[in-house]
């Protein structure tokens, strides 16, 4: 019997490959939603501490992305959308991705705990663990409800941002959590409708693979029907003003309109692609308007108050 040691080739991975491992586009959305949570929270946080919190959340999201790519390298290689990622493309070894992801995860949580507060660090640790262990390792390959339950990981960053300021949670960040949570299924199922072949090849039980396109279109509409009114909740609950309410109503109506179009689309995937693209804009609009609403009240509130008093 002969024993041959596997020869480990020196890495050719560049800095860009490691950045790609951190899923920068996902990271940017995570940072933005966390920023909104941080700025909406009552109380004051020093800008340096706020920056540190956002940096840790960004690095934590990057760690989760790297660990996801480490675990999913086999199925990434079988999907056209992901075959060019650093590991399946052969530019980066799986072990290196694992070491990178674990290092970032530990650093982000420890630094957040040391420099900001322990509760926010615990939430970040839960988010990373949920995304990697619950979504990536378990749900993704075993149930068509993978992105529904796994969506909780993507919905937590506003709560971490809030907790970085206050050290606890309240109803307001929970509403933000719910908006992202119910936004996730129509967003990803719209994508999976026109990427079904990829998911079949990779053996991932996405809803269109398991239950078919018709059921997926029905479920997209179902979640859009929950999401559209939920998007107005910050206004209805008094956390945001009329400006936010109007934008949430109009954008929610557009989401519903697109969901109806996806539901009735017989051939092609034009509506699905529009739904996927618009869903990103929808979430961005809602969170951006929360910021605009918050800061316009601070800027123009005294002026409006003064005008009212003078009238």
């Amino acid at each position: 019997m002969s024993v041959t040691a596997a020869r480990v080739e020196p890495s050719i991975a560049g800095v860009g490959d490691y950045i790609e491992l951190m899923k920068p586009r996902v990271m940017s959305l995570v940072v933005f939603t966390a920023l909104v949570g941080l700025l909406l929270a009552p109380g004051h946080v020093h800008p340096v501490i706020g920056f540190t919190a956002l940096l840790c959340i960004a690095v934590g999201a990057g760690a989760a992305g790297a660990l996801n790519m480490w675990y999913d390298a086999d199925i990434d290689a079988r999907m056209a959308r992901t075959a060019g990622r650093p590991i399946p493309a052969g530019r980066l070894a799986r072990g290196d991705a694992l070491a990178f992801g674990l290092t970032l995860a530990v650093f982000s949580v420890v630094v957040l705990g040391l420099l900001v507060n322990v509760f926010a660090a615990l939430l970040l640790a839960v988010t990373i663990a949920f995304y990697v262990c619950v979504y990536t390792m378990w749900l993704k390959r075993s149930t068509p409800q993978n992105i529904v339950i796994g969506g909780a990981a993507g919905a937590l960053p506003p709560m971490i941002g809030w907790a970085a300021v206050t050290g606890d949670l309240a109803l307001q960040p929970l509403v933000l959590f719910l908006i992202i949570f119910f936004w996730t299924p129509p967003h990803f199922w719209a994508l999976s409708l026109y990427r079904t072949e990829d998911y079949v090849r990779a053996g991932i039980p996405m809803l269109p693979v398991v239950s078919g396109a018709t059921e997926t279109r029905r479920q997209i509409l179902f979640y859009a029907l929950i999401l559209a009114p939920l998007g107005t909740a910050p206004w209805l609950l008094g956390y945001a003003g009329l400006l936010y309410g109007v934008v949430a109503l109009v954008a929610g109506a557009a989401m519903l309109g697109l969901a109806f179009r996806v539901r009735t689309e017989q051939r092609g995937h034009i509506a699905s692609k529009q739904m996927f693209g618009f869903s990103i804009l929808y979430l961005f609009l809602l969170f951006a308007m929360l910021l605009v609403d918050r800061f316009s009240a601070g800027l123009f509130g005294p002026l409006i108050g003064g005008l009212a008093a003078g009238a």
């Binding site: 020196p10 050719i12 340096v48 540190t52 050290g167």
Partner: protein, 59 residues
């Protein structure tokens, strides 16, 4: 008289990096160095910002 065989160096048997591998390794080393420097700077600035309360970490 010197022994001519002593002049000969033994052939290198280790892994020899290609130019691409050397470039990648250098870029990674610089990135790690910059990241560590940034982390040290961050801790320094936060220490200045928090002052004596730097070790107070509320839950």
């Amino acid at each position: 008289m010197d022994d001519p065989t002593r002049e000969q160096k033994p052939e290198e048997t280790g892994i020899k990096l290609t130019e691409q591998q050397q470039r990648a390794r250098r870029a990674r080393s610089i990135a790690i160095g910059l990241a560590l420097a940034a982390l040290a700077l961050l801790f320094y600035i936060v220490t200045l910002v928090k002052g004596p309360g730097v070790l107070e970490r509320p839950l």
